[in-house]
């Protein structure tokens, strides 16, 4: 399974891969440790960047094709590898490259910056092609039996494979942060990216010949079938990690532990166990190797096994163990816990703002209508006394009382509008917003598609949210016109308010928009503002209303 020297050469390339894998693991480890400060954590990985991940994917593609080419070339018997980096056996290159790519991508995902789509494909394909041609130029006369067919298949299939893998990776990377955030609050689901490497390594361990060079003389058929099955398994691993990131992460962690244990055991017993012919693979050509080289390979394999085992063990408490505890009911589901936290917060805010509103109404009533009623009562009382002795004065007092009662009514009307606009009670949200638009001091177009009434608390919250946004536009935006679109589709109420004003509205700067956001949050609603300087300003609100 691991990079392995052939023909008794020094095992240094395998050592290089061990070191590189260790570096990638450290980067991923750091990213995990400092997940709350993604940019800082991702800086070393970020410098290496997504193109390196793409390069590794290209290398992995290169590593997967030789198995096929070897079979093609050696179907009639013979020796040697057709396409390979000098001194680097391709069947070790594939899992090593995939493992490094997974570790690096895991670290990079924390930074949430994703490269342009074509970068991955191009870099992957170019890397594959470069490896192919490097080999061609250095080994064209080395007697490995180069045929035109081999070169053509290699030059075409490696870049095509790498380009596809790169495209899949970029799609994955662009959709991954959101998907992983949804899958797991703690973010450890990112480790699902290790699954393809685990699948390939396991395949190698089991000696399934999927990505291994077939023995000479096995024929084209089994090699091609094995290769296609291998690709299908790899694709299934990718689909699995996208659809069930948590489960994939758990599987990857468990797989790493298993492979690590196996590798370490191989290293310890590699020289004595008859069945372990080649490190990492029960059927390799290890017995043919010189004793010293086999020893080096065992030591290196042991180091790599220890590395993989350490990675797996370190991942266990991040992935498998919490899930297991959850499964046994020892720990709350993080999604549920987050929901409870949200609800507690929004409930506290809702109760708090309702209490504040009641206090405001109490104060308004006390200072306004209540005071006026007291005055009216006093006036009438005095008028009652004066009605015979000074009818003119009494009449004046009664007039004063009538004026005060009109003023009290006016205030009550204003207060009621602020509490619950009559139009909202009469006709519901759509008509109330239309009435609001009609009463504005500037032209406002409305496009409202709300055939049914919504729940009363929701109507009220949405009305005041729209009213606040519209008031902002009128007061601060110097707008000449407004548009309000409101529609309910698929259990979601969507309201869009557009003004042609000066722009520059920012919910973070403490205008009423922050209050609107809080008010909508109580209904799991959201608010989005686009307001470039110079306008126009678009405010979108979305509230579930199933």
């Amino acid at each position: 399974m691991w990079p392995f020297p052939v023909d008794g050469a020094a095992p240094w390339p395998a050592g290089v891969l061990v070191v590189l894998t260790a570096v990638c693991a450290v980067l991923a480890f750091r990213a995990e440790q400092t997940r709350d400060r993604p940019w800082r954590a991702a800086r070393p990985a970020g410098r290496i960047g997504w193109p390196v991940v793409a390069g590794l994917v290209g290398t992995a593609a290169y590593g997967s094709v030789p198995a096929l080419l070897f079979a093609l070339h050696n179907s009639a018997g013979g020796a040697g590898y057709v396409v390979t980096v000098p001194e680097l056996q391709p069947d070790g290159l594939l899992p090593a490259a995939l493992l490094m790519a997974g570790l690096l991508a895991t670290a990079l995902l924390a930074s949430a910056s994703v490269p342009r789509r074509w970068v991955m494909s191009v870099v992957g394909a170019v890397t594959g092609e470069l490896l192919e041609w490097t080999y061609w130029l250095t080994h064209s006369s080395a007697g490995y039996g180069q045929t035109l067919l081999n070169v053509l298949v290699g030059c075409v299939s490696v870049p095509v494979l790498a380009a596809f893998a790169g495209a899949a990776l970029s799609r994955l990377a662009s959709g991954m942060p959101a998907r992983l955030a949804a899958a797991d609050a703690s973010g450890s689901a990112r480790w699902a990216l290790l699954l393809p490497a685990v699948v390939v390594m396991t395949g190698d361990l089991l000696g399934l010949d999927l990505w291994q060079s077939a023995s000479p003389g096995t024929g084209i058929g089994p090699a091609v079938v094995g290769y296609l099955v291998g690709l299908a398994l790899l694709a299934a691993a990718v689909v699995g990690l996208v659809r069930w990131p948590r489960a994939a992460a758990n599987l990857a962690a468990l797989g790493l532990v298993g492979i690590g244990v196996y590798d370490v055991a191989q290293s310890g017993f590699g020289q004595s166990l008859v069945v372990v012919k080649k490190f990492g693979s029960p059927r390799g050509p290890a017995p043919l190797l010189p004793v010293e080289t086999a020893h080096h390979a065992s030591v290196l394999g042991g180091i790599q096994g220890a590395l993989v085992l350490a990675l797996g063990l370190w991942l266990l408490p991040l992935t498998v163990l919490p899930d297991a505890r959850r499964l046994w009911g020892r720990e709350p589901d993080p999604a549920l816990a987050r929901r409870v936290r949200e609800l507690t917060e929004t409930r506290a805010e809702a109760v708090g703002s309702a209490a504040a509103e009641l206090r405001r109404i109490e104060r308004d009533l006390h200072d306004g209508a209540q005071g006026r009623l007291v005055t009216i009562g006093m006036n009438l009382r005095v008028a009652e006394e004066l009605i015979h002795s000074d009818p003119y004065e009494a009449a004046a007092l009664v007039v004063e009382a009538r004026v005060a009662s009109a003023a009290a009514l006016e205030e009550l009307r204003g207060l009621i509008r602020g509490m619950h606009p009559p139009m909202l009670a009469d006709r519901g949200l759509g008509e109330a917003v239309r009435a609001l638009a009609l009463d504005l001091p500037l032209p406002c177009e409305t496009e409202i598609d709300l055939p049914e009434r919504l729940a009363a608390p929701l109507e009220s919250a949405c009305y005041f949210a729209v009213a606040e946004v519209v008031t902002n536009a009128v007061r601060h935006a110097s707008a000449h016109g407004l548009q309000i679109h409101m529609a309910r589709t698929d259990g979601l109420l969507r309201v869009e308010v557009v003004d042609d004003g000066v722009g520059g509205a920012d919910p973070a700067r403490g205008t009423g928009l922050a209050g609107v956001e809080r008010r909508l949050a109580a209904f799991d609603g959201i608010l989005a503002v686009s307001s470039p300087p110079g306008g126009p300003t678009t405010v979108v609100m979305e509230v579930p209303c199933a």
């Binding site: 009538r402 009662s405 009109a406 009514l409 006016e410 009307r413 009621i416 509008r417 009559p422 139009m423 009670a425 009469d426 006709r427 008509e431 239309r434 009435a435 009609l438 009463d439 504005l440 001091p441 500037l442 032209p443 177009e445 707008a479 000449h480 016109g481 407004l482 548009q483 557009v498 003004d499 042609d500 126009p536 678009t538």
Partner: protein
């Protein structure tokens, strides 16, 4: 004059009935719900219905809907809406048939009973009366003030237009503004010219034309704000 009163607050209903009886109106029915109102209107075919917008059973706009239903069956049936608040949408719906004989007032206006009785007589005679608050809202749209022909009106013409929209006759406007009736008719001709409306001597046609103009104006010849 035979009047039907629909108001769900007992005290207010009794107060209205007492006020109207004292002024010589005949109250043929006083009801407290929308179905009761519709029944009374169809049965008694009164000269006027005074209707609170918000009535049982749903306590929303049942009164308005019952009154509009009755008017569909008896075109021109004079309706005077009373409410604690005014809404342009309700005014639009009331004026939609352009037939006149409608009024829309805040309940506060009942306090000034002379004026209130004038309104009742105007509406019963097929006239149109709008609460000053409705008219203020209509004139308050900035679309008018900045780019409509309304901007060309003089201050005095604006005052005349406001009173005209409320449904006042030339003589009432003259009294209110302390000018001669002749001056009022001169101003009104000038207003109609500036607003490009066909002149009319009929008071009611005139009110309806002005209200229709005010309600439709913001959408005329204007492009919507661009995205």
């Amino acid at each position: 004059m035979r009047v039907v009163v629909a108001e769900d607050l007992f005290l207010l209903r009794e107060g209205l009935v007492r006020l109207l009886k004292a002024r010589g109106f005949e109250i043929v029915a006083a009801t407290d719900s929308a179905p009761g109102l519709l029944g009374a209107l169809l049965e008694f075919r009164p000269d006027l219905a005074i209707v609170d917008i918000r009535l049982p059973p749903t306590h929303t706009d049942d009164g308005l809907r019952a009154a509009l239903t009755a008017r569909e069956r008896m075109p021109g049936l004079p309706i005077l809406l009373l409410s604690q608040y005014v809404e342009q949408i309700y005014a639009q719906e009331l004026l939609a048939d352009q037939a006149g004989g409608v009024g829309y007032l805040l309940k506060d206006r009942v306090f000034s009973d002379d004026q209130f009785v004038d309104v009742i007589r105007t509406v019963a005679a097929g006239g149109t009366v709008m609460d000053p608050e409705v008219v203020t809202k209509l004139l308050g749209r900035r679309g008018h003030a900045e780019r409509e022909p309304l901007a060309r009106l003089t201050e005095r013409e604006r005052q005349v237009l406001e009173l005209m929209a409320e449904g006042r006759s030339n003589s009432a406007i003259a009294n209110r503004l302390f000018i001669s009736e002749k001056a009022v008719s001169k101003h009104s001709t000038s207003i109609f010219t500036k607003l490009e409306l066909a002149p009319s001597d009929d008071d009611n046609r005139r009110v309806l034309a002005v209200l229709a103009y005010l309600m439709s104006a913001p959408h005329d010849g204007r492009t919507p704000p661009s995205h």
